[in-house]
């Protein structure tokens, strides 16, 4: 299941979540890796929190219709919490991730994974592992794509295609490559 979540149903290339950051911050490998790391942490933490909120608050009191509003609040606080923790525990890492942390709130991969968990009706351990594996897949693709774009920056691209369009086409090829993983897991 973890391989399935990380590679086959990759959040970026198969489910199309988190594309803003995918196109936005993958111009250099180190920023992409930093963003991947921060997002991995936030996805895992907020999915655990969202799972608990869904189980004991929304389901218990029949408030399912407030799910979107509640989850976005939980995610925003998880991001804030992550920011404070990282700042306290490791100032060096905070320096590196600094500006990317607040951006994670509007990363749809975070909300998307949380909603997928609710729909999948998983147990707590399963949900945590799924969130962690999905976010690892996210980081992996971010770093690979950043590597490709670093090379792309040096290549001669026709003027009409320069910038985002060639990025999309490269992403398309990458998505095709990831489709090759689909035989690994039936999930």
């Amino acid at each position: 299941m973890m391989v399935g979540a990380a590679l086959v149903n990759n959040v970026i290339l198969a489910r199309f979540l988190g594309l803003c950051s995918f196109m936005g911050v993958t111009t250099r490998i180190d920023t992409a890796a930093g963003m991947g790391l921060a997002t991995t942490f936030v996805i895992t933490v907020s999915s655990m929190a969202d799972w608990a909120v869904q189980r004991w608050l929304l389901d218990a009191y029949g408030l399912g219709f407030l799910r979107t509003v509640t989850f976005i609040l939980v995610i925003a606080s998880a991001v804030q919490f992550t920011e404070m923790t990282v700042k306290k525990v490791s100032p060096a890492l905070f320096q590196m991730l600094g500006i990317y942390l607040p951006l994670i709130t509007t990363n749809c991969a975070v909300l998307g994974v949380a909603l997928l968990l609710v729909e999948g009706r998983m147990g707590f351990i399963g949900a945590t592992l799924f969130a962690f594996a999905s976010s690892l897949g996210y980081s992996l693709v971010m770093v690979i794509f950043a590597g490709l774009r670093e090379r792309l920056a040096l290549a001669q691209v026709p003027r009409l295609f320069a910038g985002p369009p060639i990025g999309f086409i490269v992403a398309s090829l990458l998505a095709m490559a990831f489709m090759g993983f689909s035989g690994i897991s039936t999930n």
């Binding site: 199309f16 803003c20 196109m23 979107t68 909300l111």
Partner: protein
């Protein structure tokens, strides 16, 4: 800051600053929901409604919202609008709701509404903000329908298939079959096709702009937050 007329707002939203093709915002539903023109259209309309309503609200409350807490307030307003649309679609357009599924709540974390709130509705009066939200949304719908149409024609040879099922019996006339099933390229419906078509359509827009003698935009994806 320059005064914005209704005409420029409409033009910006529909073409010049089109959310998808120029600003490259809101990429997630753009890719995921454009396997057919009908899905793209449905997604676009849902987003347009959310954008128009939340622009209106933010603009109406703009003097009350302080600088420090504006992002959380914007997100909450958008989330409330999304919840309304979500419930309404579940009630009245259940088939379409089932197809769009996960991506309706995800309008909250779509960068496009938030970007327009930050850039426009937070500073401008109510009516222009409403129009800006509305026409940005219509531009978004146009982009999604275009991408969906290309993918659907190449991928399965049809155009607006299932439109009657999803939007109502009145849309039966829109269902077309342009190519025989044997000519369809499954790849275009699958994820890689989404990236490919979007990339090529961005190029197409640049080409049209170039022909019209305009400077082409080289901008990339920039999320506000």
């Amino acid at each position: 800051m320059k005064t914005t007329t209704t005409k420029t707002i409409i033009k910006d939203g529909l073409w010049d600053n089109n959310g998808v093709f120029s600003m490259l915002l809101g990429m997630c539903p753009t890719m995921a929901m454009t396997t057919s023109a009908t899905n793209g259209f449905g997604m676009g309309v849902a987003t347009a409604v959310v954008m128009a309503a939340s622009s209106l609200l933010v603009s109406a409350f703009r003097s009350r919202i302080t600088q420090e807490v504006r992002i959380p307030v914007f997100i909450l307003i958008v989330a409330a609008m999304v919840t309304l649309v979500d419930l309404a679609m579940n009630a009245f357009m259940h088939e379409l709701y089932k197809v769009l599924g996960l991506f309706i709540p995800l309008i909250v974390s779509n960068c496009l509404p938030l970007a327009r709130l930050e850039a426009f509705a937070a500073k401008e009066p109510v009516l222009p903000s409403f129009l800006d939200g509305l026409f940005m949304g219509i531009g978004f719908t146009f982009a999604l329908t275009a991408i969906g149409a290309v993918r659907e024609i190449v991928g399965s040879g049809t155009l607006f298939a299932d439109a009657s099922l999803l939007l109502g019996p009145g849309f039966k006339f829109m269902e077309l079959r342009l190519l025989p099933p044997s000519m369809s390229v499954l790849m275009m419906i699958l994820p890689p096709g989404g990236f490919l078509v979007t990339g090529l359509l961005v190029v197409a827009k640049r080409l049209v702009d170039l022909r019209a003698g305009k400077e082409i935009q080289m901008g990339g994806a920039h999320c506000v937050a």
